[in-house]
Subunit: 395 residues, 2 copies
């Protein structure tokens, strides 16, 4: 059967080069980087190299990189750690309404600890208005966290403009760049942020790898207390193979970013153009222009995204109906609801995230297989029957 | 050159079987376990299998296992998460003085959050007295955390006896079993604990793998907020290869535990017997009988452990001078000080931790090489010169 993986936002496959780079550290170079003997040396040198590569990807300094176990850890660390680091200043944080749950739920935890959280809304494209962030900021605000791009709808946020405001007001600004680092250009200096999260599994690096970049001089509380690893900022024996893989993936992403963007963008654009042309009542979600190169997201009216996903799967096509992290909760996405879409429409969410292995033939295959599947699902939908009966239906 | 790795407490090498089990998940089976399509299925099944294997190792139920990124995360999760889960009951926790820093520093963080922490002392062998734990418990105590064994001195703690007390008083009891799970028999029901931490890198599993077992019905706050992974108790895309490796390592440890203990114990005992016989002024640290099968720890008077470590390293022998997590801090171990040893003596700490690759010839090599090295170091020591001059010196 044809197999078409279009769920790269859930996780990307490992590049063979990344796997090759990792293998020695699953074998002979097994030492603990903290060890003072020869066995530790090889592991420690590998960490140093990976740190430089990850820093290089985002324009930071190696000593500003803190390795973590995933994007979720980076986001928890950033949101809780930055907010808790300024007890004298206040207990108020600002986030956008479409942050990943690792940010939003960290903010919820802060609320349990006596913080107040302001959620800045987004427009129908998912864009955060920097003026709205400015308005949400109070004298006791200790943190602003707005993502660089949303993985579900692809919209790229005006982080640079928000950073101009937070810098002026001297409020730490964290951005969740899990969807962008390694995928589109990310430069911490140009963005002007104070902290930035990234994850290897989003750009052909290993699961279990992530990093938090924290600008030199910015105070942060540890999330994982323990030994003196990562400059005392993150305890725990370093996951050397994963970190090496993250470094290699970062190096490759930096070198090949332009080519990758050039490969993905036209395929994405074809899906965004042709899918609504071949199926009635399909809404493109996210920003029409400022979006991730591999992201084509839609809401298909009168169907349930999960049913669509299952039937596409039966034809060998892997897509998702929102964030993988919550897919099994089977709830309407908070991101889509924040765009102003109704629950009914948000239920029909389908997300294609293209990757390096995506070819034009894969898009053909989707465009050929999806319309009859949607038809079939709609035939079973009482809502659709009612709609067509009313005389407004298409086809 | 002969190479003898005797630092298995810092980290163990991956067993070839564990690496083999992991490789498919660094290749074709790359899906996100949360994905609802076929690509997620293989990963999810692998998680289920690993969960059953880890549960099997410690006598728990699969649904009680929460996968983490390392022992340090498990300990932070347990100490902070259990302590914070009972706000109505109080803000007091009890730990032993020789806990790993991931427990002790988590307790420090709790202090910043308004908790009070009682540290129970140990005797000269590193044993915690259950009666002392009972005495430290107050009406507002919400957590007791005492490790199953200490990795630096090898002493196995009377966890079962402590659990009898905490059960009676209905106080959650966490034990850090990072040094014991996969090494000696660990059964959560027999121990009678409420939560237990373990780490794969301690028993020939991968770095970046760990678990927290939490007894059904025991409340715990999340440490990593985010998606609904791990039953909503630990967000973040699961590190499937590491979890698979942890599961395989757990399965092998359970099957081969007796044989491993039989292999290590006589080698350990030879070191403990013959090293002090061949070098003057050597103190065995830890319990003479109730100790980890691979642990032989000493304090060598009139030398610095780090210098000894370096010279042993130059002969191809890897040892440590305490916990790898703090080795680069070059401070006297809090564990050795808690035994009542002076700073001067604690400085001479040297820790041999034997593993599956350790052979009798390796012990011969150590016993042959170490005495002249110690002699050489002592010749350079002003303290030793003073001591021998006083007429009390040996050799």
């Amino acid at each position: 059967m044809t197999r078409v993986y279009l769920d790269n936002a859930a996780t990307t496959p490992l590049l063979p080069e990344v796997r090759e780079a990792m293998l020695p550290y699953l074998g002979e170079i097994f030492g603990n980087p903290s060890s003072l003997h020869d066995w530790g040396d090889g592991a420690r040198e590998a960490l140093d190299e990976a740190r430089a590569r990850v820093a290089g990807l985002i324009g930071g300094s190696p000593e500003e990189i803190i390795f973590t176990s995933c994007g979720t850890e980076s986001n928890n660390f950033a949101v809780k750690g930055l907010a808790m680091a300024q007890p004298a200043r206040g207990k108020h944080v600002v986030v956008s309404a479409i942050e990943h749950f690792s940010v939003l739920h960290s903010a919820r935890t802060l609320e349990k600890w006596g913080f107040q959280v302001s959620e800045v809304p987004v427009d129908k494209y998912g864009l955060v208005d920097p003026a709205a962030v400015k308005k949400a900021i109070r004298p006791d605000t200790v943190l602003v966290s707005v993502m660089h791009a949303n993985g579900e709808i692809g919209t790229i946020e005006p982080v640079k403009e928000i950073a101009r405001i937070t810098r002026e007001l001297k409020i730490p600004f964290h951005t969740d760049a899990v969807a962008t680092a390694g995928t589109i250009p990310v430069d911490v200096k140009e963005l002007g942020v104070d902290a930035l999260s990234l994850a290897g599994s989003q750009f052909y690096g290993p699961k279990g790898s992530g990093a938090l970049w924290v600008k030199k001089g910015v105070r942060i509380m540890t999330l994982l207390d323990g030994g003196i690893q990562e400059g005392g900022r993150r305890g725990g024996t370093e996951n050397v193979p994963a970190i090496v893989g993250l470094g290699k993936a970062a190096e490759l992403a930096a070198a090949r970013m332009d080519a990758r963007i050039k490969q993905l963008t036209p395929l994405r654009d074809r899906l965004i153009r042709e899918l609504p042309a071949s199926i009635d009542h399909v809404i493109v979600t996210g920003h029409p222009r400022d979006r991730l190169p591999g992201n084509a997201s839609f809401c298909v009216e009168f169907i349930e995204g999960e049913s669509l996903l299952m039937l596409l799967n039966s034809r060998g096509i892997a897509v998702s109906s929102g964030s993988a992290c919550t897919s099994r909760a089977l709830k309407a996405s908070h991101v889509l609801l924040a765009l102003g879409l109704s629950h009914a429409i948000a239920q029909g969410s389908v997300l294609f995230t293209l990757g390096l292995e995506t070819a034009a033939a894969d898009i053909d295959y989707v465009l050929e297989n999806m319309p009859p599947i949607v038809d079939r699902l709609r035939q079973m939908s009482p809502l659709y029957a009612k709609f067509t009966k009313s005389g407004k239906g298409g086809k």
